[in-house]
């Protein structure tokens, strides 16, 4: 198995006349944190949606772990090890934190056409879910209904749910969006703890977070990748400074 876990090959997607994704090529290496940055409307969420399966690309290929997944539906990609978090928090709001994580564990534990045993008493679902919550320091919230939690806590739980699907690659769509400063710090800590253990493709506006977390960065402007490199290289890249960071 190669050290490239995700290969985005000439991906293109248009909405009417707008090229939201314009022949994008990105390689995400195994266990690296790869960030995609770009100004508003650069097509970052469009790109992530094509990777997770929510949107169909017009052309190009997505190769995940050597397999062409361009045409696979969302849930099949998930079973192959591709997990995403949403830009707008997406959890089962009426259920507890533990329920949410346990449902993700359950999704990996064979089919769920099991109609008889009460699922909330099953150790094989509850124990791994609890462990994930402990690792994320969320175990004290286990029995709280998600709708009663703060925005920052919900974002943390989204990561926990994504991790519970045992992904090989995490797609994170603006995990810091809408967070206060202290919440952002704890999210950066959470993601830092994953660096080197999980492959992460991160779309984020918060530049401090991106430069703190990313091993490599790709810059997306008007649907096109204008540069890819280490944080240092991106900082020094003239095109990037011009197009995006504002000539600082």
């Amino acid at each position: 198995m190669s050290d490239v876990i995700l290969q985005i090959d000439n991906l293109a997607k248009s909405f009417g006349g707008v090229r939201a994704t314009d022949n994008v090529c990105i390689d995400v290496k195994r266990n690296e944190t790869h960030a995609i940055i770009g100004p508003n409307g650069a097509g970052k969420t469009t790109l992530i949606s094509q990777l997770s399966g929510g949107l169909k690309p017009d052309s190009g290929r997505i190769i995940f772990n050597g397999q062409n997944i361009t045409k696979l539906p969302v849930q099949k990609r998930c079973h192959l090890g591709l997990a995403r978090s949403f830009q707008i928090t997406s959890l089962v709001m009426s259920m507890s934190v533990l329920d949410n994580v346990a449902l993700a564990v359950q999704a990996q534990d064979g089919h769920s056409f099991k109609f008889w045993k009460p699922a909330r008493t099953l150790e094989r679902l509850r124990a791994p879910a609890m462990e994930i919550l402990r690792d994320a320091h969320l175990d004290d919230k286990a029995d709280t209904i998600v709708s009663a939690l703060s925005h920052g806590e919900r974002r943390q739980i989204e990561i926990a749910v994504a991790l519970a699907t045992k992904p090989e690659l995490l797609l994170l769509d603006e995990p810091m969006a809408g967070m206060g400063p202290s919440e952002s710090v704890s999210m950066v800590e959470t993601l830092k703890a994953l660096n080197g253990k999980k492959s992460i493709l991160l779309v984020e506006h918060d530049m401090d977070a991106v430069f703190a977390l990313a091993n490599r960065i790709s810059v997306l402007v008007y649907g096109r990748i204008i540069a890819t490199g280490t944080p240092q290289e991106i900082r020094e890249n003239q095109d990037v400074r011009h197009a995006y960071l504002g000539d600082m």
Binding site: C78, L103, A107, S112, F115, R120, A148
Partner: protein, 326 residues
């Protein structure tokens, strides 16, 4: 988490009253037993709808179609058992009737569900309505079985050791089946399957993103629900010994939705309470005036306006986080 754990007091009180009061009234001379049996049949139908509506978020506006299929699955074989022809389905065997009712409703649910569950919201409501109206007009056109005049069942389902001509037997059989259905739905909604169903009601996108094929789970719930409603129809046909296409009419489906919402969707006992309030209110008000629909409608509107989450939840002290209600 055991079955009947939370809110179980209310559940036991309601079921205890429902299981004893009609019998005591019957034995003391006032006969409301067939009304009680009708109530129990609607309670089973509402319980089946609760599985997909209350727990699954699928607003089926054609659920009465399964009730009607179940009723005709008793009426048609019974008709041929008495008057001949169509020997291959002519039978007055109760087990045959029940199996036929359940299989035909499940099959109809599988076919129509596979199509209608590809839609959401108002489109799902309209398409389930359309399927049930199709069946309604089909039955209207069946002159052999009375068309819009309906069909009198001359011989009820034959079941060993009990006689459905005896109103006490009829009531007890229906009541025991209601208990079985409540228990079954309760097991289902707390199982792995049930949690997936409830998760998909709340956030389908999320459930797909963590790897669930929500369509397959919804369709399965729809088939179980349809089969259960067919069983209710088979009991109803025996109790009333008269069946008619209006059993399937969309107003019936609306009434079933009403029972679930009024009693409390997503609770075990809610649909039973809803069915009871509905049937009793209808009976009482129609005794006062022939214009009973007006006060009936007003009372139902008030009940929904001021008890939005359903009667079964009035008695809850506090909703426990993340647990489905009993």
């Amino acid at each position: 988490m055991g079955v009947f754990l939370k809110n179980r007091a209310l559940t036991f009180i309601v079921l205890g009253l429902l299981g004893t009061v009609p019998l005591m009234m019957y034995w003391s001379g006032s006969d409301y037993l067939s009304l009680a049996t009708k109530l129990v049949c609607f309670a089973i139908a509402a319980t089946s709808l609760n599985l997909i509506l209350g727990y699954g978020g699928m607003v089926s506006f054609g659920h009465a179609v399964f009730f009607g299929i179940g009723a005709y699955a008793v009426g048609i074989p019974s008709y041929h058992a008495v008057y001949g022809e169509l020997d291959f389905i002519a039978s007055s065997n109760g087990f045959f009737h029940i199996v036929l009712a359940v299989i035909l409703s499940a099959l109809f649910a599988l076919i129509t569900g596979a199509i209608s569950l590809r839609t959401r919201g108002i489109h799902f409501i309209m398409i389930t309505l359309a399927f049930s109206q199709m069946m309604f007009y089909f039955l209207l056109a069946l002159d052999t079985y009375g068309g819009d005049d309906g069909l009198t069942i001359d011989e009820r389902s034959q079941i060993p050791f009990i006689s459905l001509d005896n109103p006490v037997h009829m009531f007890l059989l229906s009541f025991i089946i209601l208990l079985g259905c409540l228990y079954l739905v309760n097991r289902i909604v707390n199982s792995r399957f049930g949690l997936v169903l409830q998760g998909a009601k709340d956030n389908e996108e999320r459930m797909a993103a963590i790897g669930y094929n929500t369509f397959a789970y919804r369709l399965t719930a729809y088939v179980i629900s349809g089969a259960m409603c067919g069983l209710a129809g088979a009991l109803f046909a025996n109790s009333e010994s008269f069946i008619f296409p209006e059993l399937i009419d969309w107003t019936r489906s609306g009434e079933l939705i009403f029972m679930v919402i009024l009693g409390g969707g997503g609770t075990t006992i809610g649909p039973v309470i809803g069915a009871a309030v509905f049937v009793v209110l209808e009976k009482v008000l129609s005794g006062f005036t022939i214009y009973w629909h007006l006060p009936f409608g007003i009372m139902l509107i008030l009940a929904v306006l001021f008890g939005r989450t359903g009667i079964a939840r009035w008695f809850e002290r506090q909703k426990r986080p993340g647990q489905s209600n009993e």
